[in-house]
Symmetry: C2
Subunit: 342 residues, 2 copies
């Protein structure tokens, strides 16, 4: 470009950016040459100049080699919606990246920083981004020494212990767990909390693990759990579809919910208010998380002294429905309500 215009690179830059003290004729000449060549400064060059691209990334890096449409899961969809709103409100574009792609998507966009959801403990994407000096905010506290700028998470251990106590209070004697095979901290911390609880109350653990990103694997794992000789009388499922997975498996084995089997799953889906019976769910508050990760990321990008801590714990909410409330035992008959007597 500079060669074609017969001027220096600095002159090209000043002319195109309206900077410096150049004769009008020079500025006009450079612009004409640029137009003729169809010249547009590359993303990298522009970012070097302005320092910021206005683009931030969002991705799930953990699961498998197949395209994983995480937005089909209610948690990710709500989290991504909140993250998008927060980015747009501050004038940033949000790039939702596939975990894997035959395109080199990461190199084709000049990101100012990235949100990663559920990074695994040796996440190579996170390591590479941090090596490049980009801020990385994690949805899910990073395991081990994963060097993120900030993270937002729930207290998964406390949430699981709360659910197990809730099920035990409702009469459960052997509580099972449907968990995942991946190494993200959500799965890891939740499973560990379950195992500790079992140890504390003296219950033999009863669990099945499956690859949670595979929408079919949950049904198979639910079936396997209820087919065991040491069948649980209550189950907590860590993933969104586990409520319907477990309900279907219970029907196959002639188990009534909640009479024979108590159920709770972690889900943001409103379908569980209307299943037969309605299923108790744990909400992780993904909208609050999506907003928080983007605020922390943009604060880090802009070098804003943040009022927020760089580790934010968002409270969970247990929405108790029929599936985890055992009816009064059938032997106890409450008297029918008659007309009031004086």
């Amino acid at each position: 470009m500079a060669a074609a215009a017969g001027v220096s690179i600095t002159t090209v830059s000043d002319a195109l950016n309206g900077k410096g003290r150049l004769p009008d004729a020079t500025r006009r000449h450079v612009r004409e040459v640029a137009d003729r060549l169809g010249y547009r400064p590359s993303a990298a060059a522009r970012t070097l100049r302005t320092g910021k691209s206005g683009l931030i990334g969002l991705t799930v890096t953990t699961y498998g080699d197949e395209p994983f449409t995480f937005t089909e899961f209610a948690y990710f969809a709500e989290m991504a919606r909140a993250a998008t709103s927060a980015a747009l409100a501050r004038g940033y574009a949000l790039v939702i990246l596939p975990a894997t792609s035959r395109h080199d998507v990461w190199s084709n966009v000049a990101l100012d920083g990235t949100v990663v959801i559920d990074p695994s403990d040796q996440d190579p994407v996170v390591s590479e981004l941090v090596r490049q000096g980009l801020p990385v905010v994690s949805d899910g506290r990073p395991a081990g020494s994963l060097p993120v700028t900030a993270w937002v998470d729930n207290d998964h251990e406390a949430a699981v212990l709360g659910i197990l106590d809730h099920l035990a209070d409702a009469g459960a004697r052997r509580i099972g767990l449907l968990t995942g095979t991946s190494t993200d901290t959500y799965t890891h911390l939740s499973t560990t909390a379950y195992l500790h609880w079992c140890e504390r109350v003296g219950q033999e653990p009863v669990y099945e693990a499956y690859p949670a990103h595979d929408p079919c694997a949950g049904a198979v794992a639910a079936d396997r759990l209820l087919a065991r000789p040491d069948r649980p009388d209550a189950v907590y499922g860590l993933f969104d579809p586990n409520g319907t997975d477990l309900l279907a498996a219970a029907r196959r084995y002639g188990l009534r919910v909640p009479d024979d089997l108590l159920l709770v799953c972690c889900s943001e889906s409103t379908v569980y208010a209307n299943t037969e019976p309605p299923i108790t769910t744990l909400s992780l508050k993904p909208r609050r998380i999506g907003t928080a990760v983007v605020q922390l990321l943009i604060d880090a990008i802009e070098g804003v002294e943040s009022d927020h801590p760089v580790e934010q714990v968002i409270p969970t909410e247990l929405i108790v429905r029929t599936s985890s409330q055992r009816r009064p035992p059938r032997t106890t008959v409450s008297p029918p309500r008659g007309p009031e007597e004086e």
Copy 2:
């Protein structure tokens, strides 16, 4: 980079991309120099090489100069979720761009193509993208000569005429419209359909227009509409929050819904199933639209001979609730249901 390594540009490219027939020493030398310089091919250069970046854009370009967080509106949120799922399922990243930004976000990402939502009739963003040779698929049929690759839309005229007939059948004599001031085709076609219908049935039009991207302006416009001396006895609101806007205005003027005022609004929000009374809504089926626009865009990018037409009309759905069903007139008393007589 080539100068620093003392080799040709082709040699640099071949060495870094593992192509060509180069001595191992040369390849190693070029890579060492690249590492030393922190050299990364720019987004533009990479895209020139591979032809595709794997990134597609999604944006609303029409509304105003302020950051407009369109994902806060249920239509855009559902549409964007479906678009994201469709992109990820095909291994593409989706870039959700702000309408305006102090960053030059468009230049910092090498998009293969873009989805634009509700482009206005002389949309400069669409024109510029098309000039650059990028496929553009529009959510909303383009007005005039806007040169898009493909579009997906509803039949807004038919939908509005259906709603007006529905309200007239329920007894409305003077139907009002709450509409927008922007020049996108949704607003334009819906308003035109209303005006034609009024002309056909001989009703004087009664409408208020407001800037629809401003979440506060709807309440003011609803109030203005119901304060008019020629107050309508039924209103159709074109935008998501109009149901609650109109319900609040009706309460202020002591109007009962549906007895004194029939209401319908265009919305994807489920809140209208539980308002007091529940409000009849028109659904534009944003999930089907979001999937369709991305499929059409990726087909165009990949040069796939599409089975789909490049103009797709998605059917709308009128969800009839209490707000548009007038109760039987009070003068007619139906006989109480007594025990069956022989």
